[in-house]
């Protein structure tokens, strides 16, 4: 009996310890639950850092949770269900699968808990707004940088990840439209898709380079694509200008060594910050725009170490 009592004591002690964390928060600050697509990855930790910053600034209590991998759709639903039971003032959600989340979103709507979507949108009309990167504008910035680096004339190409996903479409159109509108002397000779697969993107890059010996530059529209472009460039000993997207240890190393000239990075800190800010605005009854642009930066060897840039880059 002694062992049982000791154990029960221990278990309840743990429960109490946990409990001590909970209701200690002041009731007058907003309680906001963010359910993200991931947790321990550097990108999501940067989103969390932004959310914490906004929480401190606006005096809200923010929790941040996400499944271990972006495939664990059911775990995310469990997190969302628990968050709903907690009856927070608002919920931020980066849905892994919009369709699977629909019943819980309806439940939130019924309970009058405002939902703010972040990162990628939630395919539903329930979220009040979406805090995300304006991929069209970000890719247009890549086009501007490309034009500047190749001297405003010549042939360029795009290696992208996907022609059906939102980010794939937006980044390709953002880049090509900007070139077409602003740089009449630059021609986009080829747009090809490698599924974000490094090896496939390498082969695509080599075939583009072999077919266009006078090519001046390639834009790689996501991490896997631009790594493939960099590989292809190295394998053929080419000296074209390469502009990439996002970060990651490999891409950063390529930028250090000059194989990739520079890249566009999203602003995960801004995504977290704007999500919490939007939730508080919603709670105050303010009207929100349908999309909140969380910003992006161009970085290269010269500014990679700057505090503002380093904070949004991840390995």
């Amino acid at each position: 009996m002694l062992t049982r009592r000791t154990l029960l004591g221990a278990i309840s002690a743990v429960a109490m310890l946990a409990a001590a964390n909970g209701p200690a928060f002041a009731q007058d600050s907003y309680d906001i639950a963010l359910i993200s697509k991931g947790f321990q990855h550097q990108f999501w930790q940067a989103v969390k850092a932004g959310a914490d910053k906004a929480a401190a600034e606006f005096g809200a209590n923010v929790t941040f949770e996400g499944p271990e991998t972006e495939s664990q759709v059911d775990r995310q639903l469990d997190m969302l269900a628990a968050a709903l039971s907690r009856q927070p003032d608002a919920i931020g959600l980066a849905a892994l699968d919009s369709q699977a989340a629909t019943p819980l979103l309806e439940q939130a709507k019924g309970a009058n808990i405002p939902i703010i979507a972040f990162d990628s949108g939630v395919d539903s009309d329930i979220p009040l707004t979406t805090a995300t990167t304006d991929n069209v504008a970000a890719a247009a910035l890549a086009a501007d940088k490309m034009a500047e680096l190749i001297g405003g004339e010549g042939k360029v190409a795009v290696v992208a990840h996907d022609q059906t996903s939102r980010t794939g479409i937006d980044r390709v159109e953002g880049f090509t439209n900007r070139i077409e509108e602003a740089y009449p002397d630059i021609e986009v000779v080829s747009v090809q898709y490698g599924g974000g697969d490094q090896l496939q993107s390498t082969e695509i890059t080599k075939s583009i380079l072999l077919a266009n010996p006078d090519l001046k530059g390639i834009f790689g529209a996501n991490e896997g694509s631009v790594l493939g472009v960099a590989n292809g460039k190295q394998e053929l000993g080419s000296n074209i200008v390469v502009i990439g997207y996002d970060s990651g240890a490999a891409q950063k190393a390529f930028i250090e060594s000059g194989v990739i000239t520079g890249s566009i990075t999203q602003n995960p800190v801004g995504i977290g910050y704007e999500t919490v800010k939007a939730a508080i605005s919603a709670l105050k009854g303010e009207t929100l725009p349908p999309v909140i642009d969380t910003g992006f930066f161009y970085y290269d060897k010269s500014n990679m170490a700057d505090e503002e840039i380093a904070a949004v880059l991840y390995d």
């Binding site: 062992t3 309840s12 743990v14 429960a15 941040f64 949770e65 907690r86």
Partner: protein, 331 residues
């Protein structure tokens, strides 16, 4: 499901089994009471239903794992096998457009077939269960991605499919209690597994293999056959888990599943089943799975940071197994 509330006095092993379940059960009650006191949002119908819903998939997987663990084996492939069965259902219902019952049968048969392979590799090729099922875990993970083309398969063309987990037969009879069907499936699987373990030859050999495999072999029993049978039943139960998760998500998510075996094994261990075999109950496992979901849900409701949630869950697992060691030392 057998001798739950039996007064803990009679014979040696009976005392221990009942005592451990009592302990796990007290732990569950302590958690529920603790969380209810700590937050008014915990003890609400909607939240209790959410906890049960969250338990359904892990509970079924844990029951599957319980059977092989009682034989002294292990099955690391339960998580990815669940996904594989979900993908098979997706192929049958969405790609081939066949009727719902065939999808259900397909998932369970796919699970049993995979268990048959694991069991054969273990029994006939003498590959240790840990390695054999580790291999199967990776094989099934890969096959799920291959078959599905690495994309989720949605069940939009099979309107009734999401009712398997999300519908509520109970709710249609008692409107106040919309208990999801997935939870009923969990209870049904638990009842069947408990019956098999306590009342059938398969159940007796499951325990016998875990207690003293050599003795069973020397008494002239074809142990290979029974071992393969146990792994096949485990696989079939994983098929049920595959149906539940696919129904809940209204899609077969091919990349999901790895890591789920650890939660299932944790539930088994918390429930008092010994990893060295020969001892364990389905009811214990069910309580173990509930402890894991209550803990996760309660800590979330209390806004405990996610890092600390994992730390607390780890502590509970060690405490539960330590209790088991204390109890065995006392015997």
């Amino acid at each position: 499901m057998t001798d739950t509330t039996a007064p803990a006095i009679k014979t040696g092993p009976r005392i221990s089994g009942a005592f451990h379940r009592l302990l796990a059960f007290s732990g569950l009650i302590a958690l529920v009471v603790g969380f209810s006191i700590a937050s008014p949002n915990f003890m609400q119908t909607q939240n209790i239903l959410a906890i049960l819903q969250a338990t359904s998939v892990n509970g079924v997987l844990a029951i599957a794992a319980t059977l092989v663990i009682i034989t002294g084996g292990i099955d690391l492939s339960v998580g990815t096998l669940m996904t594989f069965c979900a993908v098979i259902t997706g192929v049958i219902l969405t790609y081939w457009g066949l009727p719902l019952p065939l999808g259900i049968i397909g998932a369970i048969l796919a699970g049993a077939a995979s268990g048959l392979v694991s069991g054969t590799v273990i029994a006939k090729l003498k590959v240790p269960p840990f390695i054999a099922t580790l291999g199967m875990m990776l094989i099934l993970k890969g096959l799920s991605l291959v078959i599905s083309g690495t994309k989720p398969i949605y069940f939009n063309d099979t309107p009734g499919f999401n009712q398997i987990a999300l519908g509520s037969v109970v709710g249609s009879i008692f409107p106040g209690v919309p208990l999801p069907n997935g939870v009923l499936v969990l209870f049904a699987v638990a009842l069947v597994a408990a019956f098999v373990l306590s009342k059938t030859a398969l159940g007796r050999y499951t325990f016998a293999l875990g207690s003293n495999e050599e003795a069973v072999r020397l008494s002239g029993v074809n142990i290979d056959r029974w071992k393969i049978a146990v792994y096949s039943v485990t696989g079939a139960i994983c098929g049920v888990a595959g149906l539940l998760i696919a129904s809940r998500l209204n899609s077969a998510q091919p990349a999901l599943g790895q890591g789920y075996e650890l939660d299932a094994i944790a539930a088994v261990v918390i429930g008092g089943t010994s990893l060295s075999g020969g001892r364990g109950t389905v009811l214990g496992t069910l309580i173990g799975a509930l402890i894991i979901s209550v803990l996760a849900n309660g800590l979330r409701i209390l806004s405990v940071a996610q890092e600390w949630q994992t730390v607390v869950t780890g502590c509970i697992i060690i405490l539960a197994v330590y209790a088991d060691i204390l109890r065995r030392r006392a015997l």
